[in-house]
């Protein structure tokens, strides 16, 4: 693959994206516009995340790619292959071994540590989009911290369903300032964003935005005083490893209504079954 530069993108593009990343780190939760490039994969498959990863990856990095918690789905395998071919870096499925983790829709169950970088793929970065279609207006709302309307959405949920029904991409306030979409992670993962020792980067390729939660930054999920934020809970543990208090996927196992609940984080589940993981 000598025809391509290291990590596919040319050096000027990487510098431009790194500048956006630095700015995003300097202003936690603020959406920094960047010149998103055409990538050799379609929008919606993680073009934003791939560009961020390509800009921060170095030859010494150990890369892990997750899709919905799994290391072995089409998306994860393809993206991992892409970086192996364009950079030659070492890859892993172990969260604790990786220095750089690109993920879609999950944050690993294994606690992250200082020095690790997590890159999340973002479809729609603007948390106010559903109630305000104009970009000029949402930018003004961010600038003036006019976030009251977000609570209208929670109000409507509680009124109709008795509780907040938003299960993923649950809005948060970063560093007590910027309203942010955490990307479509389950709200189960929201508490992991709070004061996480790792650097969390978010890339939206189609919408051309990068934002960040720097290490140890306060991240608060929106709620009402009398309807506090709650994460999902399951009655049974993981059918494979027996873990509790982790995010479980429901898997249909036959055509007679048989189903089982297993860890969505495949690496975490495997480590536990091998008798070596925490918790």
């Amino acid at each position: 693959m000598t025809a391509y530069n290291f990590a596919f993108l040319d050096e000027q593009t990487k510098r431009m994206i790194r500048r956006a990343v630095l700015k995003a780190v300097a202003i936690p939760g603020y959406q920094v516009p960047f010149g998103s490039r055409e990538m050799p994969l379609s929008y919606g498959w993680g073009t934003g995340g791939v560009q961020v990863t390509a800009s921060v990856i170095g030859p010494d990095d150990v890369l892990k790619v997750i899709d919905q918690g799994a290391d072995d789905t089409t998306n994860a395998v393809s993206l991992r292959q892409f970086f192996v071919r364009t950079t030659g870096v070492r890859t892993t499925t172990r969260t604790d071994e990786a220095t750089l983790i690109q993920t879609r829709h999950r944050i690993p169950e294994t606690a992250l540590r200082a020095g690790q970088i997590v890159v999340l793929q973002v479809p729609i970065p603007e948390p106010l989009r559903w109630l305000e279609p104009r970009e000029t207006e949402t930018r003004t709302m961010h600038a003036l911290e006019e976030y009251g309307v977000m609570w209208v959405r929670l109000y409507e949920d509680i009124t109709r369903h008795g509780r907040v029904e938003t299960a993923y991409d649950y809005p948060v306030v970063v560093n007590d300032r910027y309203l942010m979409r955490p990307s479509p992670i389950p709200k189960f993962d929201n508490p992991k964003l709070d004061r996480n020792p790792a650097l969390l980067l978010f890339g939206a390729g189609r919408e051309k935005r990068i934002y960040a939660v720097p290490p140890h930054t306060r991240v608060r999920s929106l709620d009402f005083v009398d309807h506090p934020f709650k994460v999902e809970a399951w009655e049974e543990p993981c059918a494979l490893c027996g873990a509790r208090a982790v995010f479980l996927d429901e898997i249909v196992v036959d055509d007679k209504g048989g189903r089982m609940f297993v860890c969505s984080d495949t690496d975490f589940c495997e480590r536990r079954r091998a008798g070596e993981a925490p918790r």
Binding site: V152, L154, I158
Partner: protein, 258 residues
């Protein structure tokens, strides 16, 4: 009047390119007072209202508003952030078309509760309680609180818009043709309600309308506008019963009496 005015307007001017939107408009508004602005369409009354509320930048003049702490502030010189904060806390704006003033895709309760949430209310029970209380004030049944404004009649929507504007206890309410587009019996009911609320809450309001009957019922004082300028002002009854300016005379005599 011993008290200082709530709003003092001096030399308010707005040009649309070469044309005049309004020119040299000046008046004072005291707490608890309802001021009517009348004139035919194109006379500049909506321009004045938009400039006063900061929705439209003025070309010149001063608009002094007295804050809760008693200090005066020039609305036109405020930054957008300060102006929006002031508008959220102290002002209401009732649009002619309730659709513009309401969020049509969320329930009536959320519509009334939204201004409170914008001011930092974070207790669901209290927000809902306030919404119920204000729906009752504007004569909307408690059983309609979770219904969409889309399912409301025109008169109900306008009353809902009123509740949404009054829930934060504003000190000044701007109204742009609040009864426009409603049939006469619904108009009468809304006017009745408005009059009661204005008196009970001691609201100051500026009501822009082309309907002289509305000003007769609501407004204490009247400004008559023509071609962007104020041609006559005075107590409502005085202006309507004894118009001095030829244009006001024409306006008053143009009203049909069935």
């Amino acid at each position: 009047m011993t008290e200082a005015p709530l709003l003092g307007v001096r030399g308010l001017t707005r040009y649309y390119g070469e044309r005049v939107g309004c020119r040299d408009v000046g008046f004072d508004l005291w707490p608890g007072e309802v001021l009517g602005i009348v004139g035919e369409s194109g006379s500049g009354k909506t321009t004045v209202l938009a400039c006063l509320s900061g929705r439209l930048p003025a070309s010149g003049g001063r608009v002094e508003f007295r804050r809760r702490d008693g200090s005066m502030v020039d609305v036109l010189a405020l930054s957008e952030a300060e102006r929006r904060r002031l508008a959220r806390a102290d002002w209401g704006f009732v649009h002619q078309d309730a659709r513009e003033g309401l969020r049509m895709s969320v329930s009536a309760g959320a519509n009334v509760g939204e201004p409170l949430m914008a001011l930092g209310a974070r207790h669901y029970g209290e927000i809902r309680g306030a919404a119920l209380e204000w729906l009752a004030q504007v004569e909307i049944g408690a059983d309609r609180i979770d219904d969409m404004p889309e399912t409301f009649s025109g008169g109900m929507r306008q009353r809902l818009q009123l509740a949404r504007n009054l829930v934060t206890r504003p000190r000044l309410v701007f109204m742009d043709e609040p009864t426009g587009g409603l049939d006469v019996s619904v108009q009468a009911r809304l006017l009745d309600l408005l009059r009661g609320l204005v008196t009970d809450l001691g609201l100051a309001a500026i009501v822009v309308t082309h309907d002289l009957a509305v000003t007769r019922l609501l407004a204490h004082r009247l400004l008559v506008m023509r071609e962007g300028q104020i041609v006559e002002s005075g107590l409502t009854d005085q202006v309507l019963d004894d118009p001095q300016h030829p244009y006001t005379q024409l306006l008053v005599s143009s009203v049909l009496h069935p």
